[in-house]
Amino acid sequence: MQAPTQPADDTPLLAVRDLRTHIFTRRGVVKAVNGVSFQLRAGETLGLVGESGSGKTMTCLSILRLLPRGARIVSGEIVLQGSDLVTASEAALERLRGKQMGMVLQNALAALDPVFTIGTQVGEPLVIHQRLSWRAALRRVVELLRLVKVVAPEMRLHSYPHELSGGMRQRVASAAAIGCAPALLIADEPTTALDVTTQRQYLDLLKELQQATGMAIIFVTHDISLVGNMCDQLAVFYGGLLVEYGPRQQILSQPSHPYTMALLQAIPQLGESRERLASIAGEPPDLGRLPAGCPFHPRCEAALDVCRTGAPPPVFPLAQGRQVRCWLREQEHDRSAVGSA
C-alpha cells in the first residue's frame, strides 16, 4: 500500500472552522454541533471524546456530509485537502467518500451487507473509485485482508458477514474503509461492540495501519480510557461544543476544563484504590433545550455568574496549542498571551 502524498508545507489535512450543524424538528431546533473548530494533520490521530448527545457523531456526519433528514450544516467550513466540503456538490462528495475519506462504524454487522460476500464488499470501492477490474480488485482485497490480519484471506473472499466473528467483521469493515488508501479515516466508536480483549487487538491494528499508510484518523469514542495509546490530539465534546482541545498527553495529565477534570476523576481506573468515585451531579444536557451560557454550568462546581448567562464561553487559546472554552481560564489565557507577545 502506498502512503498518500504528504503536503509539502505544514497545512493541515483537515480543517474544521466554527462548524454549526442544527437539526430542525417539530419541537424546535436541536443545536447538535454549536461552533466546533479543530485541525488534523496527515498521520495524526484526533480523538473526539464525549458522551451520547454531545455532538461528536454529528460532527463526523457533517464532515462526511451524511447527515440525517432534518439536519443541516448552518455555518462553518470543513476543508479537506484544500476543498471545502460544506459547499461541495453531492457528486463531488461521492467521489471523495471511499476514496479520500473512509468510515468505520460502531456496529460492523450493520456496516456489512449480509447478502454480499466479503470479497464483493471490500472490493466494491476499489472497482468504483480506482476503476480496477474485479479480478485485480479481488487480488487487492486479499492483500487488504492480510493487512488487517484476517487468517486465510483467499478463502474469506467468499464468506458472508454472518460467518465471521465480531472482531473479524470489524477488521473486514476496516479493510473496506481503507481500501482506496484514503487520507482520512473516521472511526466512530469502532470498538464498542467488541470484547475487551478484542478491543485492544483492534486498536493495535489501527495504529499499525496508520503507520503503514500515513493516513489521519478521527477516533470517536465515549470511553476516554481508550484514547491513551491511540490519539495524538484530543477534543472533548460537551453539549455540542468542543470544551477542550489539545495534545492528548497534556489534557489527560493536566485537564483544564472542569468537565474533563470531573470525567477523569469519575472513571474507575484499574490499580487505584478509592473508596468513592467522584461523581458529576445532574445529567448530560438535552441538545434541544440547552441552558443559557456554558452548557456545563448546571453540573459545574466552579460555575461563575458569567457562566450562566449569555453565549457560551469563547475559545481561549492556551499555551502549547491547547484550547479551552471556560471562563475560569480566561485569565490564564491572557497571561499566556501576554507571555508569548
Binding site: A32, G55, P68, Q106, T192, D286
Partner: protein
C-alpha cells in the same frame, strides 16, 4: 454480540416529555397528533350514519314506490335518486352504512379476539400448544375463503350474524401471527424476566405486562382490518351470500344495479364510492396509527 451500544443516539429528541393529567389523557394527546383528518372525518360520518340511521334517513330504505322508480339524483325529493323499485338511494346508503360499519366492527372484534387468544396462548406457553396452534393457523390460511363462506352460508342461511361469523372465523390468522411475534418479543424483554424472577405467575404477566403492550398493535391491525371486513361483506352480499334482501347492504345495492348500469348510473356509483371511501379511510387511518404508535420511536 458483546456489548450493548451507548444509550441514546445523537438524534434523540428531548426526553422527559412533560405529561400533565392522567396517563389516558396524555396518551390521547400524543396519539392524535398529525391525524389524517379526512379519513377520520369519513369514518366518523360512517359511524354517525350507523348509529343514527333512523334519524338521518329521509325515507324508509325498504319502502318501495312504483311511481318513483329510477329517478336520477337531483335537488328534488330524492337527493341521490331512487332505484328500480322506487326506494330512496340516500336512505339506503345511510342504512347501508349501518350494515357495513356493524359488520366491519363486529367481524374485527370476533377475529381479533380469536386471533389474540391464539397468539397469547402460543406465545406464552410455547412448546406443543404453540406448534399446534401455529399449524392450525397455517391450515386456516390455506382455506379458500369463498368456498368456505358459501358452505357456511348455505348451511346456516344468510343473515347479518352469519356474515359476521363467516368473516370473523376466517380472518383471525393475521392477528394470530402478528400478535404472536409481538408477544414473543415482549416475553424476551427484561421487565418480563424481572417479573418472573420476582415470582409473578403467568396470569399476572399476561394481564399486566403483555396485554397493555400489544394494545397498540391490536389497534393498528383492527383499523386496517375494518376495511378488509367491509369489502368482504360487500363482496358476499354482492354474490347473494351476505345479508338477506331487502336489507340495504352496499354490496347488495351493487348487485341489484347490474341490470341498470347503463341507464341509471347512480345505482352502482354511490354504493361503489362509499365502499371505496370507507376502505380507504380505514387503511389510511390504520397506516397513520401504525406510524404514530411505532415502538421504535421510543415514545408512547
Amino acid at each position: 454480540m458483546a456489548r450493548s451500544v451507548p444509550p441514546t443516539s445523537e438524534l434523540a429528541l428531548p426526553q422527559g416529555t412533560p405529561t400533565d393529567g392522567t396517563g389516558l389523557v396524555a396518551w390521547g394527546r400524543t396519539v392524535f397528533r398529525g391525524a389524517p383528518l379526512l379519513s377520520l372525518g369519513f369514518l366518523t360520518l360512517a359511524v354517525a350514519c350507523a348509529l343514527c340511521a333512523p334519524l338521518l334517513a329521509p325515507y324508509d330504505p325498504i319502502q318501495t314506490n312504483r311511481s318513483q322508480t329510477l329517478v336520477p339524483p337531483g335537488f328534488g325529493r330524492h337527493l341521490l335518486g331512487t332505484d328500480h323499485l322506487g326506494r330512496d338511494i340516500l336512505s339506503r346508503m345511510i342504512y347501508g352504512a349501518r350494515i357495513s360499519v356493524t359488520v366491519g366492527f363486529l367481524a374485527v372484534f370476533v377475529s381479533g379476539t380469536i386471533g389474540t387468544c391464539i397468539a397469547v396462548i402460543s406465545g406464552v406457553l410455547r412448546g406443543w400448544p404453540e406448534t399446534v396452534l401455529m399449524r392450525l393457523t397455517d391450515a386456516f390460511l390455506a382455506l379458500p375463503f369463498l368456498m368456505v363462506a358459501v358452505l357456511i352460508v348455505s348451511l346456516l342461511g344468510p343473515s347479518l350474524v352469519n356474515v359476521v361469523l363467516v368473516i370473523g372465523l376466517l380472518r383471525w390468522m393475521t392477528y394470530a401471527r402478528t400478535i404472536r411475534s409481538e408477544v414473543l418479543r415482549l416475553t424476551e424483554m427484561d421487565f418480563v424476566r424481572l417479573a418472573r424472577a420476582a415470582g409473578a405467575r403467568r396470569r399476572r404477566i399476561i394481564v399486566q405486562h403483555i396485554f397493555p403492550n400489544i394494545v397498540n398493535t391490536l389497534l393498528v391491525l383492527g383499523t386496517l382490518e375494518v376495511g378488509s371486513a367491509v369489502i368482504t361483506e360487500a363482496s358476499l352480499s354482492f354474490l347473494g351470500l351476505g345479508v338477506p334482501r331487502p336489507l340495504p347492504s352496499w354490496g347488495t345495492m351493487l348487485a341489484e344495479s347490474q341490470t341498470h348500469v347503463f341507464t341509471a348510473w347512480w345505482l352502482p356509483v354511490f354504493p361503489g364510492i362509499a365502499i371505496t371511501l370507507l376502505v380507504m379511510a380505514s387503511n389510511l387511518t390504520g397506516d397513520w396509527l401504525r406510524d404514530r404508535l411505532d415502538p421504535t420511536r421510543r415514545q408512547l
